[in-house]
Symmetry: C2
Subunit: 212 residues, 2 copies
DNA sequence: GATTGTGAATAGATTCACAGCT
DNA sequence: AGCTGTGAATCTATTCACAATC
């Protein structure tokens, strides 16, 4: 299987990227069950996806499947992990030790496999030092040193909206490379420091629309 | 019928719906600042949106703006609130009083304005009765009575993946109308009980892709 | 003069359907 | 015989550009 080309990102659309994550999750489950091979149709049926779309999505990374047979689960899984940048562990810090930040610090999903939270920061003096799951809340002054020392790539921003922009800027200056933003506002993005917004109210509002 | 046409949902696409929420948030902010009128261009510039798209999105609800002038902020805001089903308060319950569920129960954003959490449920006997913000954790047996008595419409599902489907089914049977799902799996959706998935790991995976 | 609302143009995403491998 | 990979067709979304309106 010639895997020479496409080491450069072929500029995936957000929709495709999202689906690749879904495929990866499905493949990991199938892999755990011991299945060696799976066809696009089986995958589609089991996980309510579109077989044609699975093939189109995957085909852009070369010929990953075997015609007449299907996909090798382990191989495809590995390939998607590389595409999604999950072949190694990524370190993250959380800024904002309120409800959401503290919950995330304790959330096992964020501390197993591909991601690990190595710091939890807050401005409030009365929060500093408090133990939250495996972490202790640290003052903001320790953000930049931590990021530099441990080569932290990801920042999780869980502060109130009115201080979110300045906290984002601090993350940028500290050397963070990408930010997951829980504050309900549109941050002004700095070059090279990508933002992914997670706005719980917007999710609820979308549901509310269907309630009429 | 007070507002004539389009009381029936004109079947908005998820992308449009998402943007309408963003517009509403922007308008609320502008409204608070006391601004009476705003043009699509001003809105676009301030919030990094596309003016043409704002106009196209809004135009499907009739002629909401005034040519040569712009949009009346208060009127447009009200209109979007109706479209998004936010003209009244929606009650919600949380099933799963773990990290995420407890954080959401305490999250002020979910308890002000258009949404109110009126119940927090869990199976674990040692969690029952624990105070979490304004709520006490209740046993699952009280879910259906609560939903029925208070006409709860929204369910927030924050349980582990392996019990998510059965807890979703319980919500459906209890009479919940729409579910925000934090469990990392694809639920089998029942007719009329819409699901919105919020998968934190998928968000991180999308960011990881850009870290290479 | 300014700004909306909109048809036409463009770009993008999904589905179809089948040639080409195994 | 079965399933992938893919060009063509379709569907959807976005942007353009300007006539209609204030």
């Amino acid at each position: 299987m010639p895997t020479g080309h496409f080491t450069m990102n072929p500029e995936l659309s957000p929709l495709t990227l999202n689906r690749l994550s879904v495929y990866l999750r499905a493949l990991r489950q199938v892999h755990l069950e011991g299945t060696q091979r799976i066809s696009s149709l089986e995958l589609a049926n089991r996980f309510h996806l579109s077989a044609a779309q699975i093939r189109k999505d995957l085909a852009q990374f070369g010929e990953l499947g075997i015609r007449g047979v299907g996909y090798d689960v382990g191989h495809l899984r590995g390939r998607l992990e590389v595409v999604l940048g999950l072949q190694r562990e990524h370190l993250a810090v959380i800024v904002g030790a309120g409800n959401i930040g503290s919950a995330l610090a304790r959330f096992p999903g964020l501390n197993s496999g591909n991601f690990r939270v190595v710091g939890l920061f807050d401005v409030a003096p009365n929060r500093i030092g408090v133990e939250v799951g495996p972490l202790r809340v640290q003052p903001m002054s320790e953000l930049a040193p931590t990021v530099a020392a441990r080569q932290v790539e990801l920042g999780i921003l869980s502060v109130p909206a009115d201080v979110a922009q300045e906290n984002y800027e601090m993350m940028v200056r500290a050397g963070i490379r990408a930010v997951l933003n829980f504050a309900p506002l549109q941050l002004r993005e700095h070059d090279g420091v990508r933002i992914k917004n997670v706005d719980l109210l917007i999710f609820l509002e979308e549901l509310a629309h269907f309630l009429g």
